[in-house]
């Protein structure tokens, strides 16, 4: 974990599930340092965990170790973050939203992770650059 001159927290993770727990610990520390509310802290952990789970589960076609880079900065009123991985191209913006008005019988199991992320962020962007996925988002904070 490093903090660069622009006060950006940079976290380097391996593509292993146990790394999500480590990330969560770092986010809790960051959230407490910046006095984020319990809800803001929960939302930030959820957003990052949904992305990381997807990348680790679906992103790689080999069993090698890969590095995922998470960058987070907090400015007045917002959190800006990005997640960069060298997995297969995946644009979360292409993922269709589930129909949340469907009845229980119709309601499909799945597609909820990206939907939750959309609901909890102000802005969500995707870029494929030099064989890497770069997802970035902005979330409002009080």
């Amino acid at each position: 974990m490093t903090t660069d001159m622009n006060n950006e927290l940079i976290i380097t993770l391996k593509n292993e599930n146990s790394e999500i727990e480590r990330l969560n610990g770092l986010i809790i520390r960051l959230a407490d340092e910046h006095r984020l509310s319990e809800k803001e802290k929960y939302d930030l952990i959820l957003i990052l965990e949904e992305f990381l789970t997807n990348i680790i589960k679906y992103g790689y076609q080999d069993s090698k170790e890969h590095i995922i880079i998470v960058r987070i900065s907090l400015d007045a009123g917002e959190i800006r973050a990005s997640i960069e991985d060298d997995g297969v191209a995946f644009n979360p913006l292409d993922s269709p939203d589930p129909d949340i008005n469907e009845s229980l019988e119709e309601r499909r199991i799945g597609g909820l992770g990206i939907f939750l992320i959309r609901k909890l962020t102000k802005k969500l962007d995707y870029e494929r650059k030099d064989g890497r996925n770069i997802i970035s988002f902005i979330k409002n904070i009080s």
Partner: protein, 111 residues
């Protein structure tokens, strides 16, 4: 994550405690489906000690509800903290599940 089970009259009270995330959801789902599979028809899920739910956790609730409905049973949820309620609401799950405040309310709704 820890799952507790206890029987109260004919209702099975299942406590889902801790974090229900991608790592723990399969275990939680297996335990819930096992209970339904052995013939439990009335299940009340106690979320008062549930600290975190992700989309993987929501899938556990949806799968359990679909399964118990298919076997003509009923399921109710109670005791969710505000953060958990929020996730149920934005994902549209609050129209599928009525979130009860207390165990008594939940048990009454399915008895």
């Amino acid at each position: 994550m820890e799952i507790t089970e206890r029987k109260e009259n004919n209702v099975l009270i299942v406590g889902v405690n801790g974090r229900l995330d991608a790592n723990s959801s399969q275990d939680a789902q297996n335990k819930l489906l096992q209970a339904i599979g052995r013939g439990e028809k009335l299940v009340a899920v106690d979320c008062s000690q549930l600290d975190y739910v992700s989309s993987a956790g929501l899938r556990v609730f949806l799968t359990a509800l679909k399964t118990i409905n298919a076997s003509s049973g009923k399921m109710a949820i109670f005791g969710c903290k505000d953060n958990i309620k929020q996730i149920f609401e934005i994902s549209g799950f609050s129209s599928l599940f009525k979130l009860h405040a207390t165990r008594e309310d939940a048990v009454r709704s399915i008895s």
